[in-house]
Amino acid sequence: MDITLNQVLILAAILFSIGTFGALTRKSIVIVVMCIELMFNAVNLNLVAFAYFSGLEALRGQVFAVFIMVVSAAELGLCMAIAIMLYRNRDTIQVDRINMMKW
């Protein structure tokens, strides 16, 4: 059985939804950012699938996906730095305990 574009798009949509749900409900910064990475990977999957199945300017979608990977790697590095800084100053990396400022 061949994989069709629709199947890949549905998989990506499911991944994106899981990522969004996790990012909104999880408490630890590290897990929140892992969930956001899941959202980025859903996007990458979308782009690569579109490029592969359409054949039109195929390279462009794949290059876009590579760019996104590089940028999200940089963001992951920043995430670790923030987590360490927070742990030093506040002794926690639970997002719901970082609530000094409201409204």
Binding site: F16, G19, T20, A23, I29, V32, V33, I36, M39, F40, A42, V43, N46, L47, A49, F50, S54, L56, E57, R60, G61, V63, F64, F67, I68, V71, A74, E75, L78, C79, I82, M85, L86, N89, R90, V95, I98, N99, M100, M101, W103
Partner: protein, 481 residues
């Protein structure tokens, strides 16, 4: 046979020079001027001035290079000059702030500012979704780092965390939209996307993609309902960075949004106009009403900046050429006014040990008459009253709305300006009516005074004769709308 496209190196001269300047600054910090705040700042300013000089030979040029990823036209040059001006003023403001607060990593601070400026310049100067994304992320990542530069201050830590997490989620949503736009049109270049869309009925998937992308941009321009990060980040970030965030990345996101909507998706105008009407009304009301009870001046300015984003979004809802001229005018005027306001906030904070409460402004007219009178001028300008520049920004956007039959939207805008007068005049009341807690005159660095002079003169001169700036925005907005 691979064809190597012809590259016009002059076209990305300003960006290239700025990239080199930023990297050299980092190396200078590492090897020669170890943490020498003043020297590094002056080097950064030289880099920015050099980039501005590189823009001059491009004036009046129309063209693209590196495929279509870098566009040189009056629109992009307008924004490049604006961003370079903003960055120069912010660096001037930063020098004494960095020295007073003893930031670790002085070189990185200025390097990040330069990189954010480069990202903003790319965002305004490209019609390719990939490049827009790269520019956006370069700006955002630099801004995340800058927002958390008070490493020991829990408020600043909280600011960077909220900005970072929400920023990542919004870019993921935006990218999901981009992937649908690419997938169902087959292109990432905006004019080719527009071509692929003509002759067909609106594809649902592309509409969904545009909505996702708009959600991402609404976050970057701080519009309701994606505004929750704004007050926290503005309050927690170092003051010069708050000034930068409120005018720089926001203006860049508006520039990219104009390109995306008016080059890529004029077909869907009837759909996105409705979205913008809703966003504009919500941003104006939420921004103005929430600003009233604030006691922290930076937080109040954050809500006021949400309201100003609302006024600019009225221009998007109108979507005529006139409205885009108004948007450009508004962005430039708002940048001048807001940097001036933050210069005064920093001067007051400098004299009162970092105090950013409204109560620090009590009796300012006795302690520092110059700051009090200029702050009063800026407050009147932000409310959009004559004889200041603030009037013209609002005037042209609302006039465009009336001409397009959206008079009720213009009326709501005017009503909101009246609401905003309440909290702006409240600051004047604090300065002139209330008694100061201490009679000692306020001492602050001369750099702040210079920036205040420059911006207040700009506000008043544009207020008296808006002609030149209006002419610039008119030629820059040619072809849009």
């Amino acid at each position: 046979m691979v064809q190597i496209p012809k590259v016009n190196y002059l076209f990305f001269g300003p960006e290239a020079l700025l990239i080199v300047a930023a990297l050299v600054l980092l190396l200078l910090d590492l090897f020669f001027w170890r943490q020498n705040n003043r020297r590094l700042a002056i080097f950064g300013i030289f880099g920015l001035v050099g980039a501005a000089l590189m823009v001059i030979p491009l004036l009046g040029v129309n063209g693209t290079t590196l495929g279509t990823s870098l566009v040189v036209d009056s629109f992009s040059l307008f924004f490049k000059m604006l961003f370079l001006g903003i960055a120069i003023l912010v660096i001037v403001l930063s020098v004494d702030y960095v020295a007073k607060h003893k930031f670790a990593g002085v070189g990185e601070y200025y390097t990040m500012l330069l990189f954010a400026t480069i990202g903003m310049m790319f965002m305004a100067a490209t019609t390719d979704l990939v490049m827009i994304y790269i520019g956006l992320e370069l700006t955002s990542i630099s801004c995340y780092i800058l927002a958390g530069y008070h490493k020991k201050d829990p408020k600043s830590n909280e600011a960077i965390l909220k900005y970072f997490i929400l920023g990542l989620i919004s870019s993921a949503i935006m990218l999901y939209g981009f992937s649908f736009i690419y997938g169902f049109t087959g292109h990432t270049e905006l004019s080719q996307i527009a071509q692929a869309l003509t002759g067909e009925s609106a594809k649902l998937a592309v509409v969904a993609g545009v909505v996702f992308a708009l959600a991402g941009f609404a976050f970057k321009v701080a519009s309701v309902p994606f505004h929750q990060w704004v007050p926290d980040v503005y309050e927690g970030a170092p003051a010069p960075i708050t000034a930068f965030l409120s005018v720089g990345p926001k203006a860049a996101a508006f520039a990219a949004l104009i390109r995306i909507l008016f080059i890529g998706f004029p077909v869907f105008a009837s759909y996105w106009k409705i979205l913008f009407i809703a966003m504009a009304i919500a941003s104006m009301f939420v921004g103005n009403l929430m600003a009233i009870p604030q006691t922290n001046i930076k937080r109040m300015l954050a809500y006021s900046s949400i309201a100003h984003a609302g006024y600019i979004l009225v221009g998007f809802a109108v979507a005529s050429n006139e409205a885009i001229t108004g948007i450009l005018l508004y962005i430039a005027i708002y940048a001048i006014m807001n940097i001036g306001v933050f210069a005064i906030v920093m001067a007051v904070g400098h004299g009162s040990n970092g105090g950013e409460d409204l109560s620090n402004f009590n009796g300012l007219s006795k302690r520092a008459p110059f700051l009090a009178i200029t702050m009063a001028i800026f407050m009147i300008a932000l409310a959009g009253m004559p004889p200041t520049a603030g009037l013209w920004g609002k005037f042209y956007i609302f006039a465009a709305a009336v001409n397009k039959g959206l008079w009720w939207l213009a009326l709501l805008g005017l009503f909101n300006s009246a609401i905003s007068l309440y909290y702006y005049v409240n600051v004047i009341r604090h300065m002139y009516v209330l008694e100061p807690t201490t009679e000692a005159p306020l001492i602050f660095p001369v750099a702040y005074k210079g920036v205040v002079w420059a911006t207040v003169l700009g506000t008043l001169i544009i207020g008296v004769m808006p002609g030149p700036l209006l002419w610039l925005s008119t030629i820059s907005s040619k072809g849009f709308g």
